[in-house]
Assembly symmetry: C2
C-alpha cells in the first residue's frame, strides 16, 4: 500500500437506528478511495413521524455523487433492512451486486418488482470464493441468523482485513441452514484482523443467546396439546422457525397450511434455491377449508400486527375461507418490535373477543432472537481478536454500549454514526469527515428527503385539520359575493352551536367589509388577513387553530 | 328488597381497555334503578388513531339521559384514568361527587381548571364512614396502589354488598400511605359479598407482586454510586416512589430538586392534604443551577417519553437552566406503557448522544407495578370470597383471562365489556341490556363522538395529502380563467419533473374544455368530474391518490 492511501468506513444507514443498513468501505488516496457498499436496506414508516410514506431509505446522495468510485454492492442477507432498497436505489448507483443464492433470489425479485434488470445481481458462493472489487477482495462468510444464508463479509484491502459480521447470532444448532462455525471464523481471523465491524442489536441482553433448536420441544408440546385449530405466526423469512412450526403440526397429525403472500414467497424462494431441506408437505388454503379444525395448523404472516397481514385478517373474521373459532389457539412465535405493540395488542384483543386462546412469548418459550447477546458479542470479539471493534446495526444507545463493552476489555472502539467517515488504517478509528446523510422517503412513486417539509405538512393537517377560504375580487378590487369556507377534519359546530363554516364566513365577510382599497389590491395582504381571521375565528369557536389555505381569485 | 327490584352493573368505560374508567351500579325496578357512578376517567390519544385529539372520554350519553336517576359519583383515586373526566363531564351529570381528601383535592382542581364549581366535590373519610346515595350505602375502603389514598368501594344495596376494588395491589409496606390491610378486607367481607368487581390489569403477570419498599435498597445503592448528576423519572403521582428517590438523593448527600409541573403539583397536593409525611427538603430549579452535578439529584416528569415533559426537555438540551453532561446518570424508575416505546427510546438515544448513562427497569430492580398480579388476584378472590367475580379495568384479553382464573376456582364469573348491563342480583351475572357506548373526543374545546368521521378525515389527510382545486364559472356557464390548484403534504414534482400543480392545472384545463354545457351547468357534476380528474392526474404523476376539495365559484 502507498503511504498516503487509507482505508475508510462510512455508515450511511444503520448506525444510529435499527433499520436501513448501508455501509461504505473505501480504500485509496484521500478523497479518491475506491468504494464498496455493504447492504442497501429500508426502514418502515409509522403514523407518528411518517404518515402515508411507503418506505424509508438511507439518503445515498453522497454515494450517488461518487458512483464513479463505487466498484460493487454486497448484500449480506435477505432481510428488508439489508436488501429492501435495491430495487428503488440501484439505478442511482449502478454497480454490480453480489449475494449468495437465497439472498440473490430475493434481490432479483426486488429488481423485477421495480422494473429494473435482475441481471445485475450476481450469485456467489461462500468463503473461500472471493470477489474482486477495485482494491478489495471480498468473501461471504456463513454465519447463523434468523434467515437462511446470512453471511458476514471478509473484506481484504491493502491496509488489512476487515470482518463485517452482518446480522448474526452464535447458533450451533440452527434447525436449517449453516451452524455458526467457530473454527471457520478463527481461521479467517488467525493472521490478524484490522477491524471487526459488529452487529449491536442485542447488546443489552445479558444472557447468552439460545439456539433456534431450543424452541422446538416447547412448540411441539404446545401444538400436541391443542384442541382446536392452531394458528402460529412468525417472520416469514425465519424459515427455520417455519419448519419447526410445520414439523410440530405434522407431529400432531395436522395438515399444515401457509397463509400470507410473504410466507408463500419465502418458502418458494427456499425451494428454488434448494435451502429448504425436508420441509413438510403443506396444503393450499382452498383445501384447508375442508379440514376439521382439530386437524389443521395454519402458519401465517403478521407477527407484528400489520393490518393487512393474515393474522390481522383472521382476527377480523373470515380470510381465504378460513375462520378461527372459540377454543382455537393463536401462537405468537415472535417478539414484538418496539413501536408495534399497539397493532399486536389490537389483534390479541380481537382474538380474545372470538374466544381464541392466545399464547405469546412472554416467557421466552416459543421464540429466540436472531442476534448475538452481550456474552455472544464478547465471544465474537475474542474469536476475531481484531485491532478495533466498530459497533454497527444499532440505535445510538446500542452502539455506545457496545463500544463500552469492547473498550472495557481493552479493545480500541468508537461510536461511529451515519455520516461519520472514519479512517481505520491505523490502530484505532478516527473521524476524518462528516458526510451529509439522512432519510429518503418513498411516497407513492416519488422519492424525497425527510427534511423537505412535505410530511411535516401532513402531520399538521392531521393534528389541526384544514380550512379552505376562497374569495373573489372583481375588476374594481371589490369583493365579489361572499367568502366561501370548506373545512376538513374539524367539527361541524363549536361554542356558538351555529355551523362552524357559517360563523367563519360571517367573520370573513365582516373582515372584507372593513378592508381598505389598498389592502384589497394586494393579494398577499388579503390572504394574510384572511388567514389570520380564519384562525382567530375558528380558535374562538372550537378552541384550536387549523391549517388554512386561502384562494383569492381576481377577475382581470 | 322488592322481588322485582334488581342490582345492576354497567361499565361505560374501562372494561375492554385500560383507561377511561366509568362504572355504573343501579338498584331498583328494571329501567327505573337509582344509579351511582364509580370513576370518570380519561384515556390518551395517539397519532395512529386520534391525531390532534386532546383527551378521550367514555361516551356518557346513556347516563346523561338518565341523570335524573343518578344519585352520586364516587372517585376511587386520583389517577387520570379515574378522575380525569370530571371537569369536562360533570356538568352533563350534575350529581354530587365523593372522594377522599387527596383525590378530592385533585378533583377540585380539575373542576376549577374547567371553569366548574369545585364545591360539588365532597371530601369523605375512609371506612367505616358511609355515604348514602339513593338505595346505596357506600364506603371508601383503603387499598394500596401507586398513588396515595387509593380506595376500593364497599357498595351496599338491598340486594347485598358489592366490593369494587378500584386499582389495587397487595402491598403491606407501601413506603407512604396505607398498607394493604387484609384483616380489614376480611372484616367487610365476612357477612357475605355478592360480587367482587376486580382490577384485571396484571392478570398475565405470573409471580406475586413486589412491595413498593423493595425498590428502595437498589435505588439507594444506585444513587450512592453515581458520579455525576442523577436524574430520575417516575409517574408524578407515585409519591411513595418520589419519596424513595428523594431519600436516596439525600442519603447520598445530594440536593434534591423536583422538575416538571405535574411533579410539583402532586407534591403540593400531598402537602395540602397532609399525606406527604416526612418528605425530604427540596430545592427550586433556580437554586439547583448552582449546585455541582455530583451533589445534585433531579426528579423529573416524563417517564413515558412525553415530548413536553422535563425528561424530554433535558434530552434536547438546557431546561430551566439545567443541562445533563457526559457521565451523568438518568434513571427510568418506571415501566414503559405499551404504545409509548418510541417516545421513550427517542429520549434514551438523545441521552446516549450526550454521553449520559441510562438505567432502565429491564431487570425489575428500580420499579414495581401498582397492580395486583395473578397470584395476588387469587388471594383477593379468597379474602373476599364473593358469590361472583366480575373482572374490570382491562382490555378484553385481561378480562377474559381473569374470568377464566376465577372460574377455574369454581367462582361464578363473566366477561362484561363496556355497554353490557348485567343483572347481578342472583348467584351469577347475566346480561339484560346492551347500552350504546363508545368514545368521546375532546378536540380543542369541542366534544364529539369517535365515529363522527372527523378524525377519519384527518388521518386521510395525513396519509394522502390534500389537493384543492378551484374553478370559476361565469354567467354563461363557461369556465372563467384557468383552474387553480393548491397542494399540501404532497411533493412538488413527480414523474414528469414539471411542477405537480402545473401538470394538474393543465389536465384540469383540458377537462373543462371537453365539458359540455349540461355538465357545466351542474355544480355537483363539475365537482365530481374535477375530483376524479385530479385524483387520476396526481396518481399518474406521483403514484398516490390525494384527498381533494373542489370549489366551484359561479358568477351569478
Amino acid at each position: 500500500m502507498k503511504k498516503s492511501d487509507r482505508l475508510i468506513y462510512l455508515p450511511l444507514g444503520g448506525a444510529g437506528e435499527i433499520g436501513m443498513n448501508a455501509y461504505v468501505y473505501g480504500y485509496g488516496a484521500p478523497g479518491k478511495e475506491r468504494l464498496i457498499l455493504v447492504d442497501i436496506g429500508v426502514t418502515f414508516p409509522d403514523m407518528d413521524t411518517t404518515p402515508g410514506v411507503n418506505l424509508i431509505f438511507p439518503d445515498i446522495a453522497w454515494l450517488e455523487t461518487n458512483k464513479h468510485r463505487l466498484d460493487a454492492i454486497f448484500i449480506t442477507h435477505a432481510h428488508e433492512d439489508h436488501v429492501g432498497g435495491i430495487g428503488y436505489l440501484w439505478d442511482r448507483l449502478g454497480a454490480p451486486v453480489y449475494a449468495r443464492s437465497f439472498t440473490a433470489n430475493h434481490a432479483r425479485r426486488k429488481m423485477e418488482d421495480a422494473g429494473q434488470s435482475a441481471a445485475v445481481i450476481n450469485t456467489v458462493s461462500a468463503y473461500p470464493e472471493t470477489i474482486s472489487a477495485g482494491p478489495f477482495t471480498v468473501s461471504f462468510l456463513p454465519v447463523s441468523h434468523s434467515i437462511p444464508e446470512s453471511s458476514g463479509l471478509v473484506i481484504d484491502s491493502p491496509a488489512g482485513r476487515v470482518l463485517h459480521t452482518g446480522d448474526f447470532k452464535l447458533d450451533e444448532t440452527p434447525v436449517l441452514g449453516e451452524p455458526f462455525d467457530e473454527a471457520l471464523w478463527r481461521e479467517v481471523s488467525k493472521n490478524g484482523v484490522k477491524a471487526l465491524v459488529c452487529d449491536s442489536t442485542n447488546v443489552f441482553s445479558r444472557h447468552a443467546g439460545r439456539s433456534e433448536a431450543s424452541v422446538k420441544p416447547e412448540i411441539t408440546k404446545l401444538v400436541a396439546g391443542a384442541k382446536g385449530m392452531v394458528v402460529a405466526t412468525t417472520f416469514a423469512s425465519n424459515i427455520a422457525r417455519l419448519k419447526t412450526l410445520a414439523d410440530a403440526g405434522v407431529a400432531a397429525g395436522r395438515s399444515v397450511c401457509l397463509l400470507g403472500r410473504a410466507m408463500q414467497r419465502m418458502v418458494a424462494a427456499g425451494e428454488e434455491t434448494g435451502i429448504l431441506g425436508k420441509f413438510p408437505q403443506t396444503i393450499a388454503p382452498e383445501d384447508a377449508r375442508d379440514v376439521p379444525h382439530d386437524q389443521l395448523m395454519l402458519i401465517v404472516t403478521g407477527s407484528q400486527g400489520e393490518r393487512c397481514a393474515a393474522s390481522a385478517q383472521l382476527s377480523r373474521g373470515k380470510y381465504r375461507g378460513l375462520r378461527m373459532n372459540e377454543g382455537d389457539l393463536f401462537l405468537f412465535s415472535s417478539k414484538t418490535i418496539p413501536g408495534n405493540e399497539r397493532g399486536v395488542i389490537r389483534i390479541m384483543n380481537a382474538y380474545s373477543e372470538m374466544g381464541v386462546d392466545i399464547v405469546d412469548d412472554c416467557d421466552g418459550l416459543y421464540h429466540v432472537s436472531g442476534h448475538a447477546n452481550r456474552p455472544d458479542l464478547l465471544r465474537m470479539h475474542d474469536i476475531v481478536n481484531a485491532e478495533m471493534v466498530i459497533p454497527m446495526h444499532g440505535e445510538h444507545r446500542h452502539l455506545r454500549e457496545h463500544a463500552h463493552l469492547a473498550a472495557d476489555k481493552g479493545r480500541a472502539s468508537m461510536v461511529l454514526v451515519n455520516g461519520s467517515m472514519a479512517d481505520i488504517t491505523g490502530v484505532e478509528p478516527h473521524v476524518v469527515e462528516h458526510v451529509e446523510t439522512g432519510r429518503t422517503y418513498l411516497d407513492g412513486s416519488v422519492q424525497y428527503g425527510a427534511l423537505d417539509g412535505i410530511i411535516r405538512d401532513r402531520i399538521r393537517l392531521a393534528l389541526n385539520g384544514h380550512v379552505l377560504a376562497t374569495v373573489i375580487i372583481d375588476e374594481d378590487d371589490e369583493p365579489l359575493g361572499d367568502p366561501w369556507i370548506e373545512v376538513m377534519g374539524l367539527p361541524e359546530t363549536g361554542g356558538s352551536n351555529a355551523p362552524l363554516v357559517d360563523v367563519v364566513e360571517a367573520d370573513l365577510g365582516q373582515l372584507l367589509m372593513r378592508m381598505n382599497d389598498k389592502t384589497l389590491s394586494d393579494d398577499d395582504k388579503v390572504e394574510e388577513a384572511i388567514k389570520r381571521e380564519v384562525r382567530r375565528s375558528v380558535q374562538a369557536e372550537i378552541g384550536k387553530k387549523p391549517e388554512v389555505t386561502v384562494i383569492t381569485s381576481r377577475l382581470a
